[in-house]
Every structure is written in structure tokens, then in C-alpha cells.
Amino acid sequence: MTEADMIIGCKRGDRKSQKILYEKYARRMMTLCLRYGGDRERADDFLQEGFIRVFAKIGEYTEEGTLEGWIRRVFVNCALMQIRRDRLQPLHESLEEASNEIIDALPVAQMTADELLEMVRRLPVGYRTVFNLYAIEGYAHNEIADLLSITEETSRSQYARARQALQKSIRRFYEM
């Protein structure tokens, strides 16, 4: 089945096509869910909600851009919605001086994806969300501010603190 056939099938609500789409993207989306959810249980919920939303909204996919990019956006929006709904932690924390210290990329390159994922998962939810949106998804701070209903400055501050926290984790990792 080609991707076009799969999309048409999903738009018709065909369960086989939906399963093919799921099998194709579930693993990558699971990583995304772990990055945003933090723990496995929450990630399972995000994954489920995300795919349900993908199948519900796939009629709106106009094939401008890749299907994976569209699915990723749906998942990110879904994860953000659940994070807001759960009111885990307010994202509009007070602005403090946050260092923009340069982090050496070499140690990062030498670490495995699993090790990095573990560090991201351990970040507080506010830092983690902004870090994921900025560093991994590639959103600009003004877009993040809109998505999270915070100011652009708060987004920058959260991101800087997320980097600091990651830097500490990386140092600790190499000290061990």
C-alpha cells in the first residue's frame, strides 16, 4: 500500500489503513511522547490521544509538507493540550538571570540517544516543554509564547534554564 493509498484509507476511516499508519510512525511518536510526557505512563496516554486525534483530523491534511511533519505537529499540540489540562506546573515562572553559557556539543555527540532522552525526560515539565519545542521541533520563541500562552521572554528564560540543567546532567554523566 502506498502512502497515498494509506492516507485515502485513513480519511475513509478504514481500520487497516489506520493500523499501517500507526505501525509506520508509532515508534517515533512514542519518543516524542516520552520527551513531552516525562514518564512512560503519561507517554502512553499521549500516544493514544495523539493517534486518535491524527485519525480524527486526517481529513484536514492537505499534503502540503510531509505526512510525518503534520503528524508530529498534531502530536505536539495534543501533548501541549494535555500538559495544560493537567496543570502540572505553571509555565510563566518569574524571570531570573539565566545563563546562555555555551555547551560543548562534542560530549553530546558522543552520547547515545537513549542517554539524552533520559536527561530530557528528567527536566521539570516547564523546561522540558520549551526545550522540546525550541531545540527539537524548531519553533521560534514567539511561536512558543503563542502556543503556551506565555511571554516570549519567559520562553527564552525557560529554555536557558533547560540548557543549564542539561549541561549539569551531561557533566555529571561524564564525571561518573
Binding site: R15, Y22, N100, A105, T112, L117, A135
Partner: protein
């Protein structure tokens, strides 16, 4: 250098793949409404409903068979003076076979034995009655169908009825808004064997004149209807669900039950209300899914305590007596259920369950549907709504 950090993170984490839970697809597909209903789906649905109804009515049919009744025997003294002598015992013209057996001893009959089935009494006149007479009791039973609406608080889109959720979930349910279970006892009056069914409250003061008029009248010699109704229990429950290993979960909670029974015999009426508080404990298992349908089974037990109760008796004169009822014995129920749930949308699902409740009652002295029928076959349909 800073750019490289983000690039490295992006490269490693965007491409990373992580295996979802093995049952993730089942959960997703089960939580999605099916848009396309094929003919096969329609036929399976109609067939399933028909099969379920057939099963329930077949089970109900079992109750239509004659029952050798185990009536509680209780010796009660009746005011013999109220019988007012032999001339009112029976009209000989209406009951010719009685005439043959009437002896001098019976000119003033001794009521020696009353077998009670509250509030109906079997009056046995000494000398006339071979105690071995069996009186078949017929039960017309309507299969019990409960209509349930279950609200639950849960974080994911799964309905707790699916019983394979993660974490704790709380649900509230109310049941038995639907059809009541009705038992209609038809008591045979076998005058030739001298067995008379009567209610002392109806006949006590008026003596046997009413028996002459009503029971011994040729048109009512064979049967005298006794209407006994045990309404389906009215339930309110708060439930807690917790996932266990794999496809297993367990549920517990608190259940309030009100059992209402009514007896009518001619002009006397009795209404009994029993209030129970129970703790259920069930283990649930997700069998699988057929399309969007989720199939599950559960088994467990429930322990009930009779917290209060009352019987209100209105006799033929209209006077009312109230009596408190309470049993200290624990009431145990074994329970099995087989269910199918179908998600309507992300936050609502309909479900149907059939199953059996087996009552393991210690002698409680309470006459309820639990004591009448040790086994209750249950059909239950409902809507589960998450919020």
C-alpha cells in the same frame, strides 16, 4: 558551537525510535468510533442482541417451571374464637369432598399448623389435611435488565468499563432504572385434599364466611392468586479501578442497594424495604477486541451488610403496621460478568453485560429476591461517560 548543541540534540532525538506498549494499538483502535458500519457489522449487532435476548428469556423460562417450594415453616397461633364455630367452616354444597371427611372433632376445628410464607399463610386444619400435599408454585419471571449510567473520572480516553486502564480510576454508577423482576405465585387450592391457603389478616375476624364466599366458590376452587413481587434491586455505587499486570485489572468500591418486595393477597398488602451496604471486589480481564468492540469478563464477590429495613403491612381494614427489620448476618454474592463495550466517542461508550449473581446467604430471616432466587441472571446495558 551553541548551534551544534541543538543540532546534535535534534538529530539524535528526532530520529530516535522507541517501542510503544504491545497493546497500544488495541487501546487506540478500541477508543476510536467506527465510521463505517458494514452489513456484516449490522447483522452481527442485530444477531448479538437477538442472541442475548434469547438467552435471557431462556433463562427466564427456567423460572416458569414448577418449583418445589421450600416454605419457611412457622407455627403461629390464630384466634380460634374468631372462626365462630363449625357452621362457617365450609359450605358442604361447594365442597362435597370435604363433607365426607368432616367429623365430629372438626365441629370446632383446631388450627394446629401454619406454614408461613410471609404474609401468606398456609392453614392446615387438623384431621382434614394430609401434610404431604405438594402445591406447585408457578413463577412468571421477566428477565432483569438494568439500565446503567456510569460516570467516571479518568485521565485517558479509555472508559473504565474497559477495565484495563492505568492508574486509579473512580466511577459512580446507578442501576435498575429498568424492568423489574416480577414473581407471581399461583397457589393451588386443592380442596379435596383439604389444603386451604389464606391470610389470617384477611380472614381472621370474619371467620370462614369469606372462605365460603371466595375460596370455596366453584370458580375459585382451583386457584387463588397470590401476587409476590420482588423488584430489581436499586443500586448506587462508587467504584475504584486499578490496572494490574497485562490485561488484568481489579475494581472495588462501595455499593448501596435497596431491595423492595411487595406481597398482595386480596385486600392486604405488604411492602418491605431492605437497605444494604456492600463492598464488591472483582478481577477484570480484557479478552480482546472485535473491530471497535471491546470484549471483557470479570469475576468477583460482594459482601453486603443489612444496615436497616422496614416492612409495612396494610390489612384489609386499611390499618397499617410497621416493623423494623435488620439482619446481622453478612450477605455474600459471587458474581460473574461477560461484557462488550463500544466506544461512541473519546469520552463515552455504551456497554452491554450479561452474567450471573449467586447469593450465598446465611440464614438472615429476610425474605427478599435473594432468598427467593439463589441465582440471578443479569443483563445490563449502560453508558459510560468519562470526564
Amino acid at each position: 558551537m551553541m548551534e551544534n548543541f541543538e543540532e546534535q540534540m535534534q538529530k539524535k532525538l528526532r530520529e530516535m525510535e522507541y517501542e510503544p506498549a504491545t497493546d497500544a494499538w488495541e487501546r487506540i483502535s478500541g477508543a476510536m468510533p467506527s465510521r463505517h458500519h458494514s452489513h456484516a457489522f449490522v447483522w452481527w449487532t442485530v444477531g448479538g442482541i437477538a442472541a442475548g435476548l434469547t438467552l435471557l428469556f431462556a433463562v427466564g423460562g427456567e423460572m416458569l417451571a414448577p418449583v418445589s417450594d421450600s416454605i419457611t415453616v412457622q407455627h403461629v397461633s390464630l384466634p380460634i374464637e374468631s372462626l365462630k364455630g363449625e357452621e362457617r367452616i365450609a359450605p358442604m354444597s361447594a365442597a362435597p369432598m370435604l363433607k365426607e371427611t368432616l367429623t365430629e372433632e372438626l365441629k370446632r376445628p383446631q388450627l394446629v399448623n401454619i406454614q408461613q410464607r410471609q404474609p401468606l399463610h398456609r392453614v392446615v386444619m387438623d384431621g382434614l389435611v394430609p401434610l404431604t400435599v405438594e402445591t406447585p408454585t408457578l413463577y412468571a419471571a421477566v428477565p432483569v435488565v438494568d439500565i446503567c449510567l456510569t460516570f467516571s473520572r479518568h485521565q485517558s480516553s479509555e472508559s473504565p468499563r474497559f477495565a484495563f486502564l492505568k492508574g486509579w480510576h473512580v466511577g459512580m454508577g446507578a442501576a435498575s432504572v429498568g424492568v423489574t423482576s416480577t414473581d407471581v405465585g399461583m397457589q393451588n387450592i386443592e380442596y379435596n385434599n383439604s389444603v386451604i391457603y389464606m391470610d389470617p389478616m384477611d380472614y381472621g375476624e370474619m371467620g370462614f364466611q369469606r372462605i365460603e364466599d371466595e375460596l370455596f366458590h366453584p370458580s375459585s376452587l382451583k386457584t387463588a392468586p397470590v401476587d409476590a413481587k420482588h423488584s430489581s434491586p436499586c443500586l448506587f455505587s462508587v467504584s475504584f479501578y486499578r490496572s494490574l499486570i497485562g490485561k488484568f485489572s481489579f475494581s472495588t468500591g462501595v455499593v448501596y442497594s435497596q431491595l423492595v418486595s411487595r406481597w398482595n393477597l386480596n385486600s392486604s398488602k405488604s411492602v418491605q424495604r431492605i437497605h444494604l451496604l456492600g463492598i464488591p471486589l472483582s478481577v477484570n480481564y480484557q479478552i480482546g477486541s472485535v473491530g471497535a468492540f471491546r470484549v471483557y469478563a470479570s469475576a468477583g464477590t460482594e459482601m453486603d451488610v443489612n444496615v436497616s429495613g422496614q416492612v409495612k403491612i396494610t390489612d384489609y381494614k386499611g390499618s397499617v403496621q410497621k416493623q423494623r427489620l435488620r439482619s446481622k448476618n453478612l450477605l455474600w454474592t459471587l458474581r460473574g460478568r461477560f461484557g462488550v463495550a463500544y466506544p461512541l466517542c473519546r469520552w463515552a461508550a455504551v456497554y452491554g453485560e450479561c452474567g450471573v449473581d449467586r447469593y450465598l446467604n446465611a440464614p438472615s430471616g429476610l425474605n427478599t429476591f435473594r432468598s427467593e432466587k439463589k441465582t440471578r441472571y443479569v443483563g445490563q446495558v449502560g453508558v459510560s461517560i468519562g470526564f
